[in-house]
Amino acid sequence: MVLEHAETLPLEVWFPLALLKWLLVLGGVAIAGLMVGWLSVAMRRGPVAGIRIVGRLLAATVGDILHISPRRVWALSWLAVRESIRRRVVVVFAVFIVILLFAGWFLDPGSTHPARLYLSFVLTATSYLVLLLALFLSSVSLPADIKSKTLHTVVTKPVRPSEIVLGRICGFTAIGTLLLVTMAAISYVFVVRGLSHTHELTDDDLHAVQHHAQGQPAVREGLTSRVHRHRHLATIEPSGRGRIAMEQNHWHDLEIEKSDGKTTYKLSRPRGMLVARVPVYGTLRFKDRDGKDSKKGVNVGDEWTYRSYIEGGTLATAVWTFDGITKKRFPESLFPKGLPVEMTIEVFRTYKGDTDDPENIPGIPGSLSVRNPATGEMVEAVIFTAREFTTDVVYIPRRLQTPDGNVLDLFDDLVSDGKMEIWLRCVQPAQYFGAAQADVYLRARDASFTLNFIKGYFGIWLQMVLIIGIGVLFSTFLSGPVAIIATSGALVGGVFSGFMMRLARGEVIGGGPVEAFIRILLQQNLVSDMEPGMRTTVAQMLDVVLGYGLYVAASILPAFGEFSFADHVAYGFDISGAVILKNTCRAAAYLVPLFVAAYLFLKTREVAK
């Protein structure tokens, strides 16, 4: 399994584009807002007065925002914090603890990737709870204050509406942050303790498997004790060195001690389970069976079209172009074996292999070649056997030999301006390799898992702040329950914005919302055509109209899924600084207009004048 959407657009390219888009959208929305405001005033007081009043409001807005007093914001934030505590936010914390206590019932430590399961669980549980808390706190606070007239006391003091809005956002963010930090700490302990285990191994478990010569010691193998529903294969070499095989995506270090003629075997805590790989991704292109450039590989009929396939025994190739490959980045002291390439290659077999001897099915061989994109020089670097469903590691040696005997230096001869190509081919005819862009990457280094875990929680924090912003905005002009519904709508819509967009574009099987509703009522399947007639025509017309609404909603609402880094943490990939920065910018891009809109709504309300 892989992360499907590897981030490849560099920050310096992305930022100006994103900023321009944001300014355009913001400008458009601002102009539309001003026009609506002017129209509504102009209809009552005439066009000139409209311009005057709107201009005054604009000037006051700028003044209000520019003259925000940090001291007053602090005081109002503190008020929001105290109010939150009064509203028993600690209940959420209690719920979280209860969930963790019972988590053991549902989490299977015998799963093939237990770390993935545990990490996904804690990150999902935390985000649900924190987002719900943020939703309720931010939506009901202002309406409750308005209802209980507490806000009237506040507005009699010299505070600006902008400070009231900002105070709420900051206060709720502070309390949410505190809760999130506590939950993150507890989750970390829960994951590390939940996955931690060791196995026992004794001499009785081991048996000789391979005799070197008469009287010589033999290689011994045996299974460890069963813990967390698995055992490991232990191999002890005649030299006395031992190793523990990979199982459930981890291994253990083996320490062998001999004293008084007795051998004891000590296995360490699991290794390789909680990691944060730093990948260097390349861009992928394909060549067809005749070696000509092609947009995609072959479709083997797999339902999931994420991967494209290349045919074995032909010139079909998947080519990754990497950038930023330098000696400095991959120094020999740290990478003595060469450039580490990690691959998750899928194999599509047109035949099963030698079924007469299943014990020795050789697997499907493939080759990796390195090519200099500038000079066109290419050398076959590695021949490997594809292993499915695991991330396989191969090393491209620093010095490579060409078929005519020349020795090439990887960095000097095969890399140009930091650019290098890796060509993947399937060697065996009539078998296929499937690959996508994120399937092959260079493992530059391993980052700290703990830091990555924290970054994962930072993603939840960003979502929380966004929800608080949306909640506060709605609470400035809606009553408490309605604000909750509106914020929930924004949250649900944001989570499903991708689906909504596909629905709007007519890409979803089963038609639009109205057609789908009719199908549910009539218990019709999704694929067969609707019966032609008036009903179907009307339903499809309504769907077209609703599609526009869905398109606008999906474009405006923040796609919460993109702020979630849970998959990165669970699948063991480092969340890069660029990703963090991009998402922080995205969140800020939403928060600024949310804050201004909230301010304007509150300012135009009677209570804040």
Binding site: M1, F102, W105, F106, L107, D108, S111, T112, H113, R116, L117, S120, R226, R231, E303, W304, Y306, E346, V347, K352, G353, T355, P358, E359, I361, G363, R387, E388, F389
Partner: protein, 505 residues
Amino acid sequence: MSPKKRSFWRKIAYLAVIAVLLGLLSWLGRPSTTGTDRHQGSPGGVLAQLREKEQLSQTGLGQIDPAGETIKLATLGLRGIAANILWEKANRYKMKKDWTNLSATLEQITRLQPNFISVWRFQAWNLAYNVSAEFDDFRERYRWVIRGIDFLKGGIKYNQREPRLLWDVGWFISQKIGRSDERKQFRRLFKADDDFHGDRPVALRDNWLVGKEWFQKAEELVDSLGVTMKGMSPLIFRSDAPMCQMNYAEALETDGTFGEVARGAWIGAAKEWDRYGSSDIPTSYGLNIRLSEQERFEKIAKELVEKLEALQPGLREKILKDKRAELTDAQREALAIPLEDRTQQQHKLAAEATEALQITNELIARRITGPKRKEALKLAKEATEAQQHATVIRRYRQVVNYTYWSDRAKIEQENDTLAARKLIYQGDQALAEADLTAARDFYDRGLATWRKVLDRFPVLIEDNTFGSDMIEVIGRYHQILDQLDDPFPENFILQDVIDKHGKRG
């Protein structure tokens, strides 16, 4: 009435309605209680009684899972929707080959809906057959097969009245492990799987024996509950356990175990097959049959027909003569032509003639007049019934190849058969080690021993399953001779087998 008062009374009315509805709900949903020495138990409310009547109460179905019950409550009645969403997720994970999340999601579904049998079956099949096939390494494949079996076993805990799940476990253990391309490796891993077997002795860890136990459990449950196995013919359902014993005996010999152990296994197989033959099997003809009773019914029918014909000797011949006289010239000519020489038209005419010459028992009885007519009609009816019974049994026997297995289990116990199989096995071993001379020697002796067996039990030669197995053996013998540059003997000792089955092979 002032607005304040009106509002007060409205609230009172709401409370009253709520109280009535809650009372009704409580009365309907009252749980049943078990009695003690002092207090008498209560059958509970209408819903509890209905549940009990329809055997839908959780305790009646199987174990109660606290985790599952908690989740059910936590979904606040939206269990169906939650299960639907999870099902959708599971399908997505399967599509993306994300086995970790697939397993986790399935676990959640079964906790939400533990009594939805299809989920257990579908997903166990998915794990053991679809997912396992995605891996190259047979050890990995084996592990997913066991995961599928464990998943089914989990389902059995919550569905103790469901024979289908027991049968599925039997099927997975026997067929998936014993019939895959990797059966040799699977069977070896299965024997060594301490985690699966616990303290079961190694000698009893054969997948066919373990599978048989599960089939037997399914049969016992069906018998004790008095239900039928949905979607499965009882004929097939009851044949699985004895067939496992047959396969066990066969697998022993394939693995190179002969002598008393193999004989014992075949004796067991013969006994279990006989027991299967004597069990009552309902049929789609509306009568219950026993597979072993075909010969008995044929005998009864024969005796009754003889009695019938004895009432008026020569009547059958007379009727036949009359019927012959009624045939057209063309029909008579067509009948006179040997079968293989007939044209299409002649085949049609001959079939019409044969049809017209049929003499039923009823026809004979109706032609008898006088005081014996009543007895004749009775005898004819009984004879026809016995004939029909025998026919149904014969048809059902063909479905499970009853006669072949019955004969085979007996023949395989014979010293000569055991010796023949051992010699051929030794020949194969020698062939694998490229010792061609030894291989030929073993084969010569083995084939000669088979000749003795076939002379004693010629029925074997007629059987297609045996025939195709034997043709494979002869093929290997041919291969050995080829490699030794020896010609295949002209008067081959098993030429009759080649003549009978060689073309098909």
